[in-house]
């Protein structure tokens, strides 16, 4: 087997097929100011970000160093290594010379890492100890050519030290030669120091000699030392040329800023000559300036390739800006995006950048999502990068080019205020090169028709969450036909099924009507439309059995269940609610996997746990903290208990001498359930019903919309999803309290799962949900509870405002459980 390093996720061969192996250097407290600042601020997440950027920029291994005066290196490294091990896919290089730190990291790291480094400064005492650890934990190690007299300057001294280190490691400590990577260390050729004029030559010679005389060992080099003291742009060119020479000499790995390596092909012949003269100390013998002044003089004029090299930061290793931009979109990395685009538009027309690079990259994102290999939050991060790229390119497009795109009109249908689904579709469509006209929520058919004509929409997309919205869509289509519209219509929303669309919607319209399960299904439909192959959704009834509906629990609804005594009749309003008491009721699984889209999908249980621990739970903790400390969640409740009796399919509620009638639908098929059945009739002596309206206020909504407006798609989804689930948690929390007040809380669930399966007595049925889809019930509910007093109002379409509000009728009957009509 070839000597390799590995992380939790992948193995990397130490002798890369295309040398050198690139080791990212920016996660080093001594080498990167940014990393140091974040470390000093205890911003470990920020430190991790730098590592992830190095990885995105082409690093294959990551050097991690937290040794900094005044810091607790052991603590810092343990913290960093655990975080990096979970989130960074490439293996780590543990950069420390302290044996205690090294051992702690080796224990923590779930793979084969390499330690950087040992030397012979103290005659080999520490090296011997570290070699022992390397052997014990099966790691690899970098050995520096530093002896009792300091860093070796000549090739001979470097090689002699390497031999001594090799002897100690292999003969004394039992390591394999392949466990060793020798760093022949280089000094700068840029400082004008006469004794260092041959620094590059000495290092290159040492690399050749070590490879020749110590079979099986590897070599590594900290590249950037060679150019200390020179101007940044010229440094990148010199570093890149030197790297090429070192690889020729036998270098296996280089510690570099991976994003700043310039491909040799992009360095002009002349630039290369100037660099080689300096590296090999050529042409300084006669009259005139030596190689260093000539180098400085040459690059003072800021040569083109050097300029490009600056712009090419983040361009990745030996790859064009094309690949780099494509990767940035797929991986959702923003840093350096504009710089790469600036390079691209010199070679390609802006429209070609969009069509040939960005759109295919987003298409790849869609494919990865479709295969379950990319989760929704990451798709949104990709879309954020895409949005930025297109925004940067847009001013460069001609008007004609800009208007060539297919235009899609999007609306949430009349009576429905839910916009997250529609907005996600807008994000995906617009970032796949389509022009989207998003005309908002609660849009009547007349307005959709008028806007479609006005903006010349090529395709219309309708969205809606409510059960009723499916019926509205069907009505809309009939109106569209009446008005003579001919655009294809895409339908999406939680309450829709392909069968309903095929059987009820398609016949109402004369152009294709297509059911879209998610935004990417919509995207596929748009592409089919452009290809002229879009057809209506079909439902093959023969092939698919009718949906299995869960049967009722316990069959016939029992009569004569005792009626509990409520603590009061009428309504009350509660505004003093501790958010911290509500949070434990949040359905974490539904939030993480459902609302947020952090599914396990194709990950192993361990990888999923790493994702949760590294990304998802910290996000939840932060939102929870802000919910409590910053008032992001403001729970308020209006609730009450009322005398009532059932009358057929209706429930009559009595309050203040007035009767309120709630007609409930009954299931058409067995077991023919209806909410009214859970309450006693007048003849049976009447009953008690509870109602509540709970809200978590407007702050979360406001924040979510601001994030959407700022193109922070992922955070938008996170904030919105958090709001939905916290509101549901408040409903759960309050329902539990009402059970206690009714004295029916005898068998409460032991854990959250018990709430999911309604392991308590009774049920709550939300208005607008499957058991009672009609929102008409909100009129009497508002008369009974007066939720205006807690800041909740009813829209003209009977939906509650703010959005993060929910309502329910509470039934105490032990057989009452969720069902759908």
């Amino acid at each position: 087997m070839r000597p390799s390093l590995s992380s939790l996720y992948q193995a990397v061969e130490l002798r890369s097929a295309i040398p050198p192996l690139l080791i990212g250097e920016r996660t080093n407290a001594n080498g990167s100011k940014l990393f140091r600042e974040r470390l000093l601020a205890d911003d470990f997440a920020g430190c991790l970000q730098i590592g992830l950027e190095q990885e995105a920029n082409g690093a294959q291994v990551l050097d991690l160093c937290a040794a900094y005066a005044g810091r607790d290196e052991l603590r810092d490294m343990c913290e960093l290594v655990s975080r990096f091990a979970r989130s960074v896919k490439i293996p780590l290089m543990i950069d420390s010379t302290t044996p205690e730190v090294i051992e702690a990291c080796l224990k923590l790291y779930p793979g084969r890492c390499v330690v950087n480094s040992v030397n012979l400064e103290d005659g080999g005492r520490t090296a011997r100890r570290v070699f022992g650890l390397i052997r014990k934990y099966g790691a690899a190690v970098v050995a520096l050519t530093i002896g009792e007299q300091g860093m070796a300057m000549t090739a001979e001294d470097k090689v002699a030290l390497a031999r001594r280190l090799h002897g100690l490691a292999v003969d004394t400590c039992g390591l394999r030669p392949s466990d060793l990577l020798f760093d022949a260390l280089t000094f700068t050729v840029g400082a004008g120091d006469e004794t260092l004029r041959s620094a590059a030559v000495q290092t290159l010679r040492a690399i050749r000699e070590i490879k020749a005389s110590l079979p099986g060992v590897g070599t590594v080099l900290g590249l950037s030392n060679i150019s200390f003291g020179l101007a940044p742009a010229s440094r990148r060119i010199l570093n890149s040329v030197f790297l090429h020479e070192a690889v020729e000499a036998g270098l296996d790995a280089a510690i570099v800023d991976a994003g700043k390596i310039v491909p040799l092909a992009r360095i002009s012949e002349r630039e290369r000559e100037v660099c080689l003269d300096l590296l090999y100390d050529r042409g300084g013998e006669g009259e005139g300036p030596g190689p260093l002044p000539r180098f400085i003089e040459y690059f003072k004029g800021a040569a083109p390739a050097a300029q490009e090299a600056v712009a090419g930061a983040g361009a990745g290793r030996f790859e064009g800006a094309e690949r780099a931009v494509s990767r940035q979109v797929v991986e959702g990395v923003r840093e350096g995006l504009e710089d790469n685009l600036a390079i691209l538009v010199r070679r390609l027309a802006p429209l070609a950048v969009i069509n040939q690079i960005l759109v295919p990259a987003m298409r790849q994102v869609g494919e990865l999502f479709g295969r379950g290999e990319l989760l929704l939050p990451f798709v949104l991060q990709s879309a954020e990068v895409m949005k930025r790229a297109v925004a940067w390119l847009e001013p460069l497009l001609s008007r004609e080019e800009a208007s060539q795109r297919t235009r899609v009109l999007l609306a949430t249908v009349q009576g429905d205020v839910h916009d997250i689904g529609k907005n996600l579709v807008e994000i995906i469509f617009s970032n796949n090169g389509y022009e989207v006209v998003n005309i908002g929520i609660k849009v009547p058919a007349e307005t959709i028709i008028a806007k479609a004509r006005e903006c010349g929409a090529d395709v219309i997309g309708l969205s809606g969450l409510l059960v009723k919205s499916a019926l509205i869509m069907r009505e809309n289509l009939a109106q569209f036909r009446e008005a003579g519209l001919r655009q294809p219509v895409l339908l999406g929303g939680a309450a829709l099924t392909p069968r309903f669309v095929a059987e009820s919607c398609v016949p109402s319209y004369d152009a294709p009507v297509v059911y879209c399960a998610d935004a990417f299904a919509g995207l596929a439909a748009l592409r089919a439309h452009e290809a002229g192959s879009l057809t209506s959704t079909v439902w093959r009834a023969a092939a698919q059995a009718t949906a299995v509906r869960p049967s009722a629990r316990g069959g016939e609804v029992q009569r004569g269940v005792p009626v509990p005594e409520p603590p009061f009749y009428g309504c009350r309003h509660v505004t003093e609610i501790d958010v911290a008491e509500v949070l434990p009721y949040v359905n974490i699984e539904a939030l993480f996997r459902g609302r947020w889209g952090y599914r396990r999908a194709k990950l192993s249980a361990e990888e999923y746990e790493a994702l949760l621990e590294g990304t998802v739970r910290p996000l939840y903790r932060e939102l929870s903290r802000r919910a409590v400390e910053e008032g992001l969640v403001q729970p308020r409740v209006a609730y009450g208990y009322y005398r009532c009796y059932s009358a057929g399919d209706a429930l009559c509620v009595v309050d203040g001498g007035k009767e309120y009638r709630f007609p409930f639908p009954r299931q058409a098929a067995a077991p023919h359930l209806c909410i009214a059945d859970y309450f006693r009739s007048e003849a049976e002596g009447g009953d008690v019903a509870g109602f509540f309206v709970v809200t978590t206020g407007e702050a979360l909504d406001r924040e979510a919309h601001a994030l959407y407006g700022a193109d922070r798609y992922r955070d938008y989804l996170m904030t919105h999803g958090f709001g939905v689930e916290v509101t549901d948690a408040l409903a759960e929390y309050w329902h539990a309290r009402m059970r206690r007040e009714l004295g029916i809380a005898g068998s409460e669930p032991a854990d959250l799962n018990g709430y999911v399966t309604q392991g308590y007595q009774g049920s709550r049925f939300g208005f607008g949900y499957p058991a009672c889809p009609e929102l008409e019930a909100h009129r009497p509910v508002f008369e009974l509870l007066r939720p205006e007093r807690i800041g909740v109002t009813l829209s003209e379409t009977l939906q509650m405002v703010p959005e993060q509000t929910t309502s329910a009728i509470v039934a105490h009957h032990p057989q009452a459980k969720y069902f759908a009509v």
Binding site: V548, S551, G594, R600, V756, Y818
Partner: protein, 52 residues
Amino acid sequence: MKMICTNCGYVYDPAEGDPMGGVEAGVAFEALPEGWVCPLCYAGPAAFDAYG
């Protein structure tokens, strides 16, 4: 393998089946009948995710 409904958190355990949906114990998630939905929230099988 157990599967969890990403909409409501219900867990389908093949060892238990889904008595409410008429699914006997021992039926793998992949082998659930056509048209099967979450017994609690009616989400389809596509809404389910690997659990554990």
